[in-house]
Amino acid sequence: MTVAQRILIVDDEDLIVLAMRKYFEGLGYHVDSAFELEEAQAMLANYEYDLVIADLRLTGIGGVEGLQIVSDVHQRCAHTRVILLSAFGTPEIERESYNRGADAFLHKPKAMMELASIARTLLEP
């Protein structure tokens, strides 16, 4: 039996974080969560994650903190995969996230099953 893969979920909506955490834990992952950018950055400094699933917007209207998370992840650990979720992403932001090294940019809402299948693909060795 291998060690469970570690996922960080970042979203300012605590109920979404709760549901996602339960879902992914149910699938056998080790799940950490953060609600703000600084919290997420602290987590990234302490642990090495296999996958980060982050909402693009963590503060008020127009926020794009998710992009910062993508950059931070790639500075720290080249093998960590990143999925950005967004309810309002524009083509420009989507391009920018890929430029910074995001592995997927998904539009909300997205069924968990779909998200899990993408995560599984990204986490395959």
């Binding site: 979404i16 996602m20 149910g26 309810a87 309002f88 809402p109 069924a111 968990m112 099953m113």
Partner: protein, 625 residues
């Protein structure tokens, strides 16, 4: 006094004389005078130095006749004064005087008569050049000249404006050549009259400095020439020249008459020119006034029409003669007349500009009325300008509607966006719940129902976003045929699911329109999905495209129940739907996107049943840019 005549008889005789008669004694006292003298003495204001001098010389024993100029009632008059000393030995006892007003004897009436005749002539409405010719003819006839030319200052030179010849031979020989002549300041007889402001007279034209004319005149047998400047306000406006066949002298008296005649001529010509100018300007003004498309009316302060331009006359439906002198009220107790009358009254009472708005079934008018003051009460006017605001108001409403829609769109998009996150949260929660309820079929049935509701909300959210999006149009040439094939491919799974076949008949491979492909595809997807939803299993949906004139025409038709005819006017309204579970935004989005592409969309029921939606998009021609 001779003793033979008695004093009363002598007095009666002297009193008979209309001229003043008086006798002065050696000490200078008037010892006898007639009533004419008394009146005259008062008129000239008493003693005159000149008369005193004459008196002194007469007492030296000489009879004297002298012209004395005196001011009588402000007018200079010339009197011939006769002074006769008494005869006899020794010093002169007394001197008898008579004074005769010689200014009356002079042919002073001539100038006045001429001017009166000219004024009468110029009162006619004939063209000025013809009037001038007739004036020359009249002057020649009056003063015995054989020909006359009226020269007009035109820029740097004098040129002939009118001429008259006493005989046809001279006219034939001279008129054409005279018309060609130009005299600059100081040159020739006319030029000298111009430069000196004086009458110029030459006994024989053969002495003339301009040989041209000497020869000309000689061939016509003209010898004497006299020219007088036409002076108006100290400015020479022209020169009048008279010729005779005989060699004719001219005296000062004649020169004076000529100058006065020329001045009268100058005045009359100038006045006539002014009148013509005013008439021309009046006509021009009338044309301008009539060409203004806004109704403009001039009324008296009591609301009686004084002038109306064409637009105003058309509004009243009457011609000029039918309106001028008529009151506004007489046109009826309806709009716009009621408000116009009230506005004029308001201007009259306040003496200030007033505005009003008239709303009739035909449209909305803005009325601006101002007083036009005049020195005389009867010349006062009120000027009214009316402006048709209907189109402007319609535009304003349309802009306001557009702004409202845009604002509404933004609001809708904002709300839809905020709904996305909770929906996502609900979906995720449901996913977790389903994992935990695995194996509990009854509960899973309920979560499936929840999922359906969420899916409906998601679809509404997507539609609201598509509808409310403030779109920056980024149109590029694109092929309609290709776009339709893409659309068919994207809705094919839905068609298969519904067991409905899509029958396409696309002849639009050459149809290029300016499009935003990612947006325009929504139009045809929406139309096809609508058609699929209204079709029963096994039916067909038809998609056709072709070019018609300057447009690409795309039609989507189903064999479903079609539109309720009462609903047709409302099918493009947001949130209008008859389909259970429909958002009522599909066709609104279609119309909005088609609008963005400069096209039109129409809904109708096909003759052989089913609904048909037709989209027309303007074709793009590369060279039309």
């Amino acid at each position: 006094m001779p003793q033979l005549i008695r004093r009363p008889i002598f007095d009666a005789l002297v009193d008979l004389s209309p001229d003043p008669v008086w006798i002065v004694d050696a000490s200078g006292n008037v010892i006898h005078c007639n009533t004419a003298y008394t009146r005259w003495w008062a008129e000239i204001g008493g003693a005159s130095v000149r008369i005193g001098e004459l008196q002194r010389r007469a007492f030296e024993g000489r009879s004297i006749v002298a012209d004395v100029r005196l001011i009588v009632a402000g007018v200079e008059r010339t009197y011939a004064i006769h002074a006769r000393p008494t005869e006899g030995e020794g010093p002169v006892e007394a001197v008898a005087f008579t004074a005769r007003d010689t200014s009356r004897d002079a042919p002073a009436g001539t100038e006045t008569a001429i001017e009166l005749a000219l004024m009468h002539l110029f009162a006619s409405t004939e063209p000025l050049s013809e009037l001038a010719e007739r004036a020359l003819e009249f002057l020649c006839a009056t003063d015995g000249w054989d020909a006359a030319i009226l020269w007009q200052v035109s820029g740097e030179a004098l040129r002939a404006f009118a001429m008259w010849f006493g005989n046809d031979a001279a006219r034939e020989r001279l008129s054409a050549r005279v018309s060609q002549l130009r005299f600059t300041l100081g040159r020739g007889v006319p030029g000298r009259a111009w430069s000196t402001h004086e009458v110029v007279w030459i006994a024989d034209i053969l002495d003339e400095s301009t040989m041209d004319r000497a020869e000309l005149s000689a061939t016509a047998g003209l010898h004497s020439v006299v020219a007088a400047p036409l002076i108006e306000n100290e400015r020479v406006t022209g020169v009048v020249e008279f010729f005779t066949q005989s060699v004719r002298p001219i005296n000062d008296r004649g020169k004076k008459t000529l100058l006065q005649t020329a001045a009268a001529l100058a005045r009359l010509i100038e006045r006539r020119r002014l009148i013509e100018q005013i008439e021309r300007r009046g006509a021009e003004w009338m044309l301008t006034f009539d060409s203004i498309s806004l109704p403009i009316l001039l009324t008296t302060p009591d609301g009686v029409f004084a002038r109306l331009n064409r637009a105003a006359r058309e509004m009243a439906g009457l011609d000029y003669a039918g309106l001028v002198g008529r009151s506004i009220q007489s046109l009826g107790d309806t709009e716009p007349w009621t408000t116009l009358h009230d506005t004029v009254t308001a201007v009259r009472d306040s003496g200030m500009a007033c505005t009003a708005q008239i709303v009739t079934e035909a449209g909305t008018w803005d009325v601006a009325a101002s007083p036009l003051p005049a020195s005389a009460r009867e010349d006062e006017r009120v000027i009214i300008a009316m402006r048709d605001m209907s189109e402007l108001i319609r535009l304003q409403e349309s802009v306001r509607r557009g702004e409202q829609l845009a604002a509404l769109g933004e609001l809708v998009a904002g709300v839809a966006h905020e709904v996305k996150n909770p929906l996502f949260g609900m979906g995720v929660t449901l996913d977790v719940l389903e994992e935990q309820l695995r194996g509990n079929a009854e509960s899973l049935e309920l979560t499936q129902a929840l999922r359906t509701w969420i899916a409906r909300l998601q679809s509404l959210t997507e539609n609201l976003l598509a509808f409310g999006k403030t779109w920056s149009v980024d149109l590029k040439p694109g092929n309609v045929g290709e776009l339709l094939h893409q659309t068919i491919a994207s809705v094919a799974p839905r068609a298969k699911e519904n067991v409905v076949a899509i029958d396409s008949d696309i002849h639009a491979e050459e149809a290029t329109v300016l499009m935003d492909g990612s947006r325009l595809i929504l139009v045809f997807e929406n139309l096809l999905i609508n058609a699929l939803q209204h079709s029963r299993k096994g039916e067909q949906v038809h998609l056709s495209a072709r070019t018609e004139g300057d447009a690409a025409v795309i039609s989507v038709r189903d064999h479903g129940p079609g539109f309720n005819p009462d609903d047709l006017p409302r099918v493009f309204q947001p949130f209008f739907t008859r389909r259970r579970g429909g958002t009522g935004l599909g066709l609104s989005i279609v119309q909005r996107i088609v609008d963005e592409h400069g096209g039109t969309v129409n809904a109708r029921n096909h003759e052989s049943g089913g609904a048909e939606l037709r989209v027309q998009l303007p074709l793009y021609h590369q060279d039309s840019e």
